[in-house]
């Protein structure tokens, strides 16, 4: 008889999720399903709202990455109103986005994903968390992490009004210029952040790369998935979080396509499954061919590992050398090891810190003109940024008053949804053998999704209302003998 193991709720991520693992008669995994059991409904209930409210409303999709939604939304408003923000506004937005990446990536490494390595993947569950990390690294180090996050979040508050949830984005710019105090705060914060970025990579080196068991785990087939990769790149094909073109590389690492933001709806499609509320994105030209790896399957990945794979390098010097070391240690591009997301995330953290330092010292950010008042009639606009968890897409249509008639949102985790489902299935099949299951083994399964830093707050932004019920009754040979339907 088949057995079932349910991990509910999955933990150390943003939002709701569960994993349903079905074992066969021998106690080995038939299939593991990674499900998103929650939805809210932003695409529908944003209809009728003034477009300028969207940066604040859509930030409520995710309170962990509100800044990313706020940025994508503000950029969509620029396009909607055909207005080009002053240079100061663009650079201040990117500065805020950089500060946000640092504190958000740090959150994942120290609070969410990192405990699996710092404390240990099969450590007792009461210790596998930030408190266990503080025990391991010492309270003084822990206080540095807490202090750095606080410093950067206060910087975001000073510029954007609130850190959960920012209010400063407008079509054509931002709501207020920076004063000298804030610029000084940004410079100091940036210097601390660069030191912190170096420190994080050192911790990763000491704790993970120097531990042969961990390196074997990262490179094991249990956590290897061959897919396409996507990320924003600048004109030199370097990683960029705020602007640029979208580049996709194939599972061999060759450029498959590069396109501007407004082509996103033509390049990407969404697939629906009956067992999860999340919609699964894929490359339209390749097509949906099920949960399959390889270049015949349109499944792609986003977020740190994908961004490094999709780019030719990093635009800042220390991050660039870390990037080179990454691919040299992991055997060249592309890297298909899901757990290598953790390392890539810290390289990105250092890049964001260096970029923050560049922007904080850029005289343009002191400009007093931070808002171009739009004068065109609004119609349609697309805004794309990289969120910490991957490419984020906002697309609005409005009437001539700028009231939303249509909103379409593809969030970071949705881009990763199909690959995450495959990674969890692979890890479950590799880790659960002959019916032997314990808390540590199930955590090794959870580590397969945790590496992506998925955000189910984001993934569950759409909402179907009440679901229809279909009850199918099978005989022991899995033959369907009856079906009862209840439509909503």
């Amino acid at each position: 008889m088949k057995q079932r193991i349910v991990i509910d709720p999955i933990t150390r991520l943003e939002g709701h999720g569960k994993i349903d693992i079905i074992l066969d008669e021998t106690g080995n995994v038939d299939h593991a399903y990674f499900q998103v059991p929650e939805l809210r409904g932003f695409e529908k209930f944003t209809e009728g709202r003034p477009a300028e409210d969207m940066p604040q409303i859509t930030s409520r999709i995710c309170g962990v990455c509100p800044t990313a939604h706020h940025m994508a939304s503000s950029k969509a408003l620029d396009a909607l109103y055909h207005v080009d923000p002053p240079v100061a506004a663009k650079k201040i937005r990117e500065l805020v986005n950089s500060a946000f990446f640092i504190e958000d990536h740090a959150l994942h490494f120290f609070y969410l994903g990192g405990p699996d390595f710092v404390v240990g993947p099969t450590a007792p569950k009461a210790a596998r968390n930030i408190l266990g990390v503080l025990d391991k690294v010492g309270i003084e180090t822990g206080k540095q992490v807490i202090a750095l996050r606080k410093e950067l979040r206060e910087l975001i508050t000073a510029i954007a009004g609130k850190v959960i949830h920012p209010v400063f984005g407008l079509p054509g710019g931002i709501s207020k210029p920076l004063n000298e105090d804030i610029i000084e705060q940004a410079r100091t914060g940036a210097d601390h952040a660069v030191e912190f970025g170096r420190f994080c990579l050192q911790v990763f080196n000491d704790v993970v790369l120097q531990n042969e068991d961990y390196v074997n785990l990262i490179t094991s087939p249990a956590y290897t998935t061959n897919t396409f990769y996507m990320g924003l790149v600048d004109q030199d094909n370097k990683v960029n979080f705020y602007d640029g073109q979208i580049r996709v590389v194939d599972p061999e690492g060759q450029e498959y396509v590069k396109f501007p933001a407004n082509e996103f709806p033509d390049r990407i499609a969404e697939h629906v499954e009956p067992w999860s509320f999340v919609k699964f994105c894929y490359l339209k030209d390749v097509g949906w061919n099920g949960f399959e790896e390889g270049r015949e399957s349109g499944i792609y990945s986003v977020a740190p590992l994908a961004r490094l794979n999709a780019a030719d390098g990093m635009a800042t010097p220390e991050a660039q050398s870390a990037y080179e070391q990454y691919f040299s240690v992991l055997g060249g591009k592309p890297v298909h090891f899901t757990l290598a997301n953790h390392w890539a995330r810290l390289i990105e953290l250092l890049y964001a810190a260096e970029r923050l330092q560049e922007l904080a010292n850029d005289p343009d950010i002191a400009g007093s003109n931070v808002h171009t008042i739009p004068d065109a009639t609004p119609d349609e606009g697309i805004g794309i940024v990289e969120a910490p968890r991957g490419t984020l897409f906002h697309h609005y249509k409005t009437d001539e008053r700028g009231v939303i008639t249509r909103a379409n949102l593809i969030v970071a985790t949705q881009n990763n949804a199909a690959r995450i489902a495959m990674s969890v299935d692979q890890a479950a099949k590799a880790m659960i053998k002959d019916g032997k299951v314990d808390d540590g083994i199930l955590n090794l399964v959870e580590m397969a999704f945790r590496a992506y830093d998925p955000c189910h707050g984001c993934a569950s932004h759409s909402m179907p209302g009440q679901t229809p019920l279909i009850l199918r009754i099978y005989d022991p040979e899995h033959q369907l003998i009856d079906e009862i339907r209840r439509e909503p």
């Binding site: 991520l13 079905i22 209930f45 009728g48 409303i57 509100p66 019920l469």
Partner: protein, 327 residues
């Protein structure tokens, strides 16, 4: 003596309330010393089964954020209620329904069609929708059911206290936790924030005219917003007069109007009605049609006045008339 046990949980929410707890920063260390956190899915690996195994009233307090939309959220709220001596509704969504509560303007079928069929990028030739129960490769899989409308936490289970805000201000969280640990709690049902309007703590208070008169409602992108003067006096629909204080006027410090996330003071039952009447009374015009025209400049009254509170409002929204909705 063993430490008091506390829990945190999220329902239909964004995770911002968890971030607000993390934003206690070094202030969380003495809290962690004083209590045992026994459930907090964002940060700790305890599962639902661990909560089910607890005796009733095991937790001294559980903080629940997020609105209630699914059967799973309702079950968890009931489970945590049974296991906790105190329940605190944490943040705008559990307090008033929050921004997800705006979904109550729409019925389910519109939303279903919109998300799974009528969306520009969806390719769904077989018209598949997520199902409460489905079979894949002979394996039965389930998803929670959805209620007809978004509810507040206290429309679902008995709530002892409320921490308002989207997200709740860190200083208020510290005060609330301290009060609970010291057993110095106000009357049941209290909103744990100052019971005065935001205008009273606003740094621009002095520039607010005694007799406001607005002859044109402005949208924030239409003007260069002056950083010194009362935003309402600049024509922006700032809701500070109707909103409870305690946030430090954060949005106004960001040079943008208050949108009301802290909810009303104890003297107001319907936040949106209060905010609407407050703004409407400042609109000037010679003739009735002048006033009507000026009010038309406000393109989204529901989203402006009930942005965080539609489910707790007297209006409640269209969705509750939909079949299957819970009272």
């Amino acid at each position: 003596m063993s430490k008091p046990k506390i829990g945190f949980y999220w329902c239909a929410s964004c995770g911002g309330c968890e971030e607000a707890v993390v934003d206690l920063a070094e202030d969380i260390l003495p809290v962690v010393e004083a209590v045992d956190i026994v459930f907090w899915p964002v940060a700790l690996d305890f599962k639902r089964a661990d909560v089910e195994a607890m005796p009733d009233n095991e937790m001294a307090v559980c903080f629940i954020n997020g609105a209630i939309r699914t059967s799973e959220q309702e079950e968890m709220a009931q489970l945590l209620r049974a296991k906790s001596q105190l329940i605190v509704a944490f943040g705008s969504c559990s307090h008033m329904g929050g921004i997800p509560g705006l979904a109550n303007q729409f019925v389910r079928t519109d939303i279903l069609d919109r998300v799974y069929y009528d969306s520009q990028m969806v390719v769904n030739p077989d018209n598949i929708r997520p199902q409460e129960a489905t079979a894949v490769n002979g394996d039965s899989l389930s998803l929670p059911s959805f209620d007809g409308a978004v509810r507040t936490l206290d429309q679902t289970v008995d709530v002892d206290y409320y921490l308002p805000g989207c997200s709740p201000p860190v200083a208020l969280i510290v005060q609330a936790v301290t009060a609970i640990l010291e057993g110095k709690l106000p009357d049941k049902g209290t909103v744990l924030a100052p019971d005065i309007a935001l205008c009273d703590e606003c740094s621009r208070k002095e520039s607010k005219p005694d007799e406001l008169s607005i002859n044109k409602i402005r949208r924030p992108f239409e003007i260069e917003i002056n950083q010194e003067d009362c935003l309402l006096a600049q024509g922006l629909p700032c809701l500070g007069a109707a909103t409870r204080s305690g946030c430090g006027a954060a949005c106004i410090e960001g040079n943008m109007p208050c949108t009301g996330c802290m909810g009303p003071t104890s003297r107001v039952s319907d936040f949106g009605a209060k905010a609407l009447s407050g703004l409407a009374s400042t609109i000037t015009g010679e003739e009735e049609h002048d006033i009507a025209r000026r009010l038309e400049q406000l393109v989204d009254p529901v989203g402006t006045f009930y942005r965080y509170s539609l489910p707790m409002s007297l209006l409640k929204g269209r969705a509750i008339s939909d079949k299957g909705a819970k009272a």
